[in-house]
Symmetry: C2
Subunit: 309 residues, 2 copies
């Protein structure tokens, strides 16, 4: 565990029983090939394999933005911050290796609640052998916020970036889209193993996980790859959860392309016949994303996301 | 940059102009030996040197806990989150290598303010060639919170942990203590170069940076090393800033041992004659920390930090 946060005035505790909490966390940890048993030090020490590229990123989850602490259990909140990062590993086709995490706890929260946050994170990581090797805990007069930074390793597979899609490539997704706000955004399974399988068996040219929604995430691939795309709306796999969240003014298909937090993979390849993936369109040289919907080809704009500053 | 955070409902923007902000951040980045130019991907890709141990940790800064956004400039806040982590690198005698960061911005904050936060972080990192290679930005109805995860590399020096202090070792600090809340807690310089020099020239047995205060941080070393300590209060270097913050009921020396956020190094060694360090006591086999003050030897208890849950 890294040095503990605390009130800077020096006489107000960082968190009631924080040192007990840290001791408890350490009792949950186990030694691994990569990380020796946590030494309670300022930084964790890892032996990185010489032939592994090191991938690193971070995602946060904030109360009322990524979860609602009045509705969602602390264990599901902890799981989400880990799973969002595991999904980033999937997007690059790398293997999760280790993580460090922070939690900013609203003052007065119980130790049991804090332990549930940790256990949710730990259990989600354990599935992919991704241990939390360090962290920082603090209490504040603010809302619950967690972050997790993940280290991934290439482990024999070249990382798949967003920047190499080519005109003529097909565009694929790994599952039905839309309706995640009905609950799936808290319970999704990151597609780590599927990503590794796809990247090892097929010639993937670009990949991303669908967090911002197909219209925006495909935009990221097109922008980085300097290409455009044409989607066939008829091919888009619609998730049944859309029925539970249908918004006024939104068509069913709008949920599939704009709602986001699907955490399925979106990738491009010259061809892919994997039984789990669905082809939804083509990469083209001409910039911009169009879609064919009701036999008409129109521009697929990212919907209503960004306002002016 | 990692995938962007956003409102899960999918129709509320993650941050006004967030994609512009991310583009601007990318324009600030430069390629390096370790990290190629940010590819705008889910994770940054680093080539880790085979003979370097990888050290990793994370620290957060929270409004009203680690800084006060009504008082401190955004540039100094960004600098602090980087410097707290650089100080963790110093504590292990490793070289900062790269970082990923998150920011949770109060809704309505200006792009200029967000840029200042980033620039403070970047400038503090640049001093030690530590580039921010990825991050996550979100806006919320909450207070300003930043986190930074740092990667350090051993670069030819065995990391100094907290766990190897031995009875008979002397205890040293690298500068005067106390009074940090007068302002130094926002402006300190992490002791990265000094730590490397000390670790290469002397046989350091344990080291930590003074963030929680001497009484607590020496406690961490004693606990991890399974030893005790005896401090001579007369030897403690007192910072002149204590005069500006003297608390009612606190003696001057209480500030030096309990206030914290000094970010000087506290280390143990059989001997060290470096001109910049001050010997303050000895490690002993008997557990617990005593200090000799006014010719009396009493227990030095961590002062008033932890409450019961």
């Amino acid at each position: 565990m890294t040095a503990l946060s605390r009130k800077r005035q020096g006489i107000i505790p960082p968190m009631p029983g924080e040192f007990d909490f840290i001791s408890w966390i350490r009792s949950q940890q186990r030694p691994s090939e990569l990380a020796q048993l946590s030494s309670g030090d300022d930084l964790a020490i890892l032996k990185w394999k010489a032939d592994d590229l090191l991938l690193v990123g971070v995602d946060q989850v904030l109360d009322t933005v990524h979860f609602d602490s009045r509705v969602h259990s602390p264990r599901s909140i902890g799981a989400k911050v880990m799973n969002r990062n595991l999904s980033d590993c999937a997007a690059m086709a790398c293997l999760p290796a280790a993580a460090v995490a922070t939690v900013a706890l609203p003052r007065g929260i119980s130790m049991d609640y804090a332990k549930e946050l940790y256990l949710g994170m730990k259990e989600a990581g354990d599935i992919f052998d991704c241990q939390v090797v360090g962290g920082d805990t603090a209490t504040w007069d603010g809302k619950l916020a967690m972050t997790l930074s993940i280290l991934g390793r290439s482990a024999g597979i070249r990382p798949i970036t967003r920047g190499s899609a080519k005109p003529g490539d097909r565009i694929y997704v790994t599952g039905p889209l839309g309706g995640s706000s009905a609950g799936r955004h808290m319970t999704f399974q990151p597609r780590v193993h599927l990503a590794r399988e796809l990247a090892s068996k097929y010639k993937l040219t670009a990949m991303i996980d669908l967090s911002d929604g197909l219209s925006r995430d495909l935009g990221h691939i097109c922008e980085e790859s300097k290409v455009g795309a044409l989607i066939n709306a008829k091919l888009l796999p619609l998730h049944k959860d859309i029925d539970d969240v249908q918004k006024s003014g939104w068509r069913t298909i709008d949920h599939a392309v704009h709602e986001g937090e699907d955490y399925e993979l979106l990738f491009t390849a010259p061809a892919c016949d994997h039984p789990q993936v669905i082809m939804i369109g083509d990469i083209r040289a001409e910039p911009g994303i169009d879609w064919i919907i009701d036999s008409e080809q129109t521009r697929l704009e990212p919907k209503g996301w960004e306002h002016e500053i």
